[in-house]
Every structure is written in C-alpha cells, then in structure tokens.
Amino acid sequence: MARGGGNRSRLLLVILLVTALFFITLDLRGVNLTKGSRSISQTILSPVQRTVSDIFSPVGRFFGDIKNFGKTNAELQNELATNKLLKAEIATNADIKGQLTQLKGVLDLAGRGNFKVVAARVIARGSASSFSQTITIDSGSSSGIRSNMTVISQNGLIGVVKTTTSSSAIVLLMSDPSFRVGVRIARSQSVGVLSGLGSNNYSLVLLDPSGSIKIGDTLLTNGSAGNKPFVPGVPVGVVTSVDDSTGTLTQTATVNSYANLNDLGVVSVIVSAPTTAPTTPILPTPNPVVTVYVTPAPIPLLSPGATASAIPTPTSTPSSVATKKK
C-alpha cells in the first residue's frame, strides 16, 4: 500500500473501515435503519427464492441422490413412511407411560393433534457465508405467523420463527448453536435444556443432577409460558449417549433429533395450541392426586380450602373443562 497507494489509499482505507465500524455500532445499538435494510432485502428475496425453489429443488437434492444411488425411490419412500410412523408411536407411548408412572396427567400427546398449524414450503436455506442455521418459508405474517412460534415437521420439532415479512418467514433451526429449548424426558419426566451444536447432534443438560436419563430416552418440548416460543409435547429427539461422569455438576447427554433438518420440504408453524396443555411444567410439582385419592390418612389434616390453595395443580382437566364450557 505504501508503495502503490500512498496517502490517498490510506485515507480511503480508513474511511471504509470507519464506515463499517459505524454500521456495526448502529446495529449493536439497535438502530432500525440497519434492521430495516435486512427486512427489505428479505422482502425482495422471498419471491425470487420461491420461484427458484420450484425450479431448483431437484438440483438441490443432487448430492443426496448420489449418496442414495442404488435404492429405488419407492423403497426410500416406503422406509421413510414406516420410520415416521414408528417414531411417532414410540414418542407417544414413552410419554404416556412416563406420565402414568408418576400419576401426572399434565399432557396428553394425542392433544398434539389439536395444534392449529400453518403449513409452509421451505424456499431457501441459510447462507453458506454465515454460520447460522436457518431456513426461509413461503408463509409470513399475512398467514398469521409471528416471531417466536414453534415450527415442526412430520417427525417433530425443527425450530422457531425468527423474523417474518408479510409473505415469508425465517426459521432458526434447532441445529443452530444459539438455539436452546427446554425439554423433558418422556420416561422419567426429568427436565433439561437442549442446545444446537451446528450439526445433527444436540447437547442435553439436565436441570436436576439426580434426574434419570438413559440411552434411548425420548425427549419432548417442555413448553413455554403462553406457548411462545415453544408449545409443550412436541417430539424432539432421542438420547444416544449419556455422560454422567462424577466430575460434572449435572448430567449431560448427546441427542439425535427425530426431524431430519437436511431434508425439509414442507413444515408447519404452530399458530395456536390448546390452552389446556401444561405451560410451565419445568417446576418440580408435588403430586396432589396421590395425596388426596390414594392415601386417605392425610386428608383430615388438611382443610379442603387449604388443599386447593397450597398445592399447585399441574393437572389440566378441571380447567380444561371450564374453558371448554366457556
């Protein structure tokens, strides 16, 4: 630069670097100008992405097709359909068994069918020049989609809506390193936090160090307050390895997701979930059902009013009936 550019080049370099730093500062301070520019680019991009997706999707699957060369399409479709059915059955059975064991009727997985969903097509994937893991779908705020809504595929959870425009939305995939979701183990009802690792594997950290976790355990979403960003009961994945070494404060595990994030064609955004689903099961709750109905001795010690107010009621049946009557 000193040889060829001289002072003018140095000045230009300084001006450009200062401009870039100025933009970064504006963005980090939350100025709408920079956020708005990305929103505008998304609005421009989404119609193009939708069109290109129609034409380009066979090319996009080119490398995957090479890998599966030799298997007929019919065989693949058959295997996929069987797998989906089995995974859904395993998730439902394990969850119901876990809840029956602990006499907790907090969630009926069959209620998952009551989700109100908006189906959307995947029209783009996150850019290779950034390390974030996202997809773009062809439905947006005009279809009722808002940010922080749960996104599922046929096999289970895939992510959460990050931003929306009127006709498209960007979904943060669960494999993104910044992704966190509260999950519970269907068998033991232990709760933990699942994190994306940027690949097909996920890290699970149990909140309770004495919680029970085994290889093969099924994980379901724990749910968030107001069902945002996560509705409860959506199948997430299966535990593939457990690290319970004595040196760690809590148990960690590696998880494989049910949904294949590399093969997303159509996804569904949950725009509303049944209000009767448990929204905050992350808190350990005593089991009032056992105390009241199975062991009659403690009943005289507690007045009916004290029982109702002192013990949290995790079961949703009474409130659900009341809601339905309204």
């Binding site: 040889r3 060829g4 450009l16 730093l21 991009l45 090319v59 020049s129 390390f131 390193p177 690949s199």
Partner: protein, 172 residues
C-alpha cells in the same frame, strides 16, 4: 474507481447475492456448503488495483451484510472484506500479476475465502455470537475452501470477461 463503476459493481454484487441466497444455498453440498458469493467477490478483489480492491471489498461486504439469515451485526462483512481488499492490495506487488498464473490465482482466492471466514468467526467470538463447535466450524471452513478450489477455475474465465466488459476505456 469511477462512480458509474461503483454502481455497476454494487448491482452485480446484489444480483450475485440473490443467486447465492436463492439458488446456491439450496444445494446440499457435502462438507457444509459453498459460498459462490465470497469466491466471486474475492476474485474481483484480486483483479482490482489498490483502491479498487478496497472499494470492491467494501461494496461486497455491504451487500453480504444484507443477508436476512445472518446473525452478525450489519457492517461486519464490510469490515472483513475491506480488510481482505487491503491484504490483496498490499501483497499485490510482491506476488506479481495474479492473473498471469491461474493456479496461483485460484489458490489465493481459496485462501482469501478461508481467511474471510476465519475473521468472521473471530469477530463473532469477540461480539458474543454463537457460531458452533470448533469441529463444525472447521468442517464449514474446509468445505468452503475445497469447493472454492473446485469451482473457481470454472467461473474465472467468464468473470474475467465480464470485468473487462464493465471497464471504461480509461480504466483499461
């Protein structure tokens, strides 16, 4: 770099950005993808003279910052690609005319892509972004570098012609 050429370059980068985000990102490349945008942007930076490399890098970065899927703050890519432009400008004299040796040129472009991505990760780490495990990031870096090495020779002749066409008589 003339104002006309700045606007032409900006338009070219935006078109390239749309292609990258709409088409190239749909392809499931083994080893986590290929950024055609970065490969072409760094090739163009390498073609330019001192000031041209800086301006081209900045313009390429600004357009890439428009990516709605990016978690990075607006301006991060502009900063990084201006830096890459500076690196090419400084080393241009010492490595002679890159265009006379296509193999060296491709190696420099692939190296430039790798440096840009590593710098992006480093800035991300400084700014508290979560960009994944070391293994995953290494895979993305390796994938991008390999695919850049593979694809750059394919688009290089066409890119050189487009650039020649866009130059004014004075710039030639």
């Amino acid at each position: 770099m003339s104002p006309t050429r700045i606007f032409t370059t900006l338009g070219f980068f935006f078109a390239l950005f749309v292609i990258q985000e709409s088409a190239v990102s749909l392809i499931h490349f083994p080893l986590s993808g290929f950024s055609l945008y970065l490969a072409i942007a760094i090739s163009l930076i390498a073609f330019e003279d001192h000031n041209g490399a800086l301006v081209t890098g900045f313009l390429a970065g600004i357009v890439l910052d428009l990516s709605p899927t990016s978690n990075a703050p607006f301006g991060q890519w502009a900063l990084i690609l201006t830096g890459i432009g500076f690196l090419f400008a400084v080393n241009r004299d010492s490595i002679a005319d890159l265009t006379s040796s296509p193999i060296t040129f491709v190696l420099f472009v692939a190296g430039g892509v790798a440096i840009a991505l590593v710098t992006y990760l480093a800035f991300g780490a400084l700014l508290g972004e979560q960009n994944g495990s070391l293994g995953h990031d290494g895979k993305v870096l390796l994938g991008n570098t390999i695919w850049t090495l593979v694809f750059t020779p394919m688009f290089l002749p066409a890119l050189e012609r487009v650039r020649e066409y866009s130059l004014t008589a004075r710039e030639r």
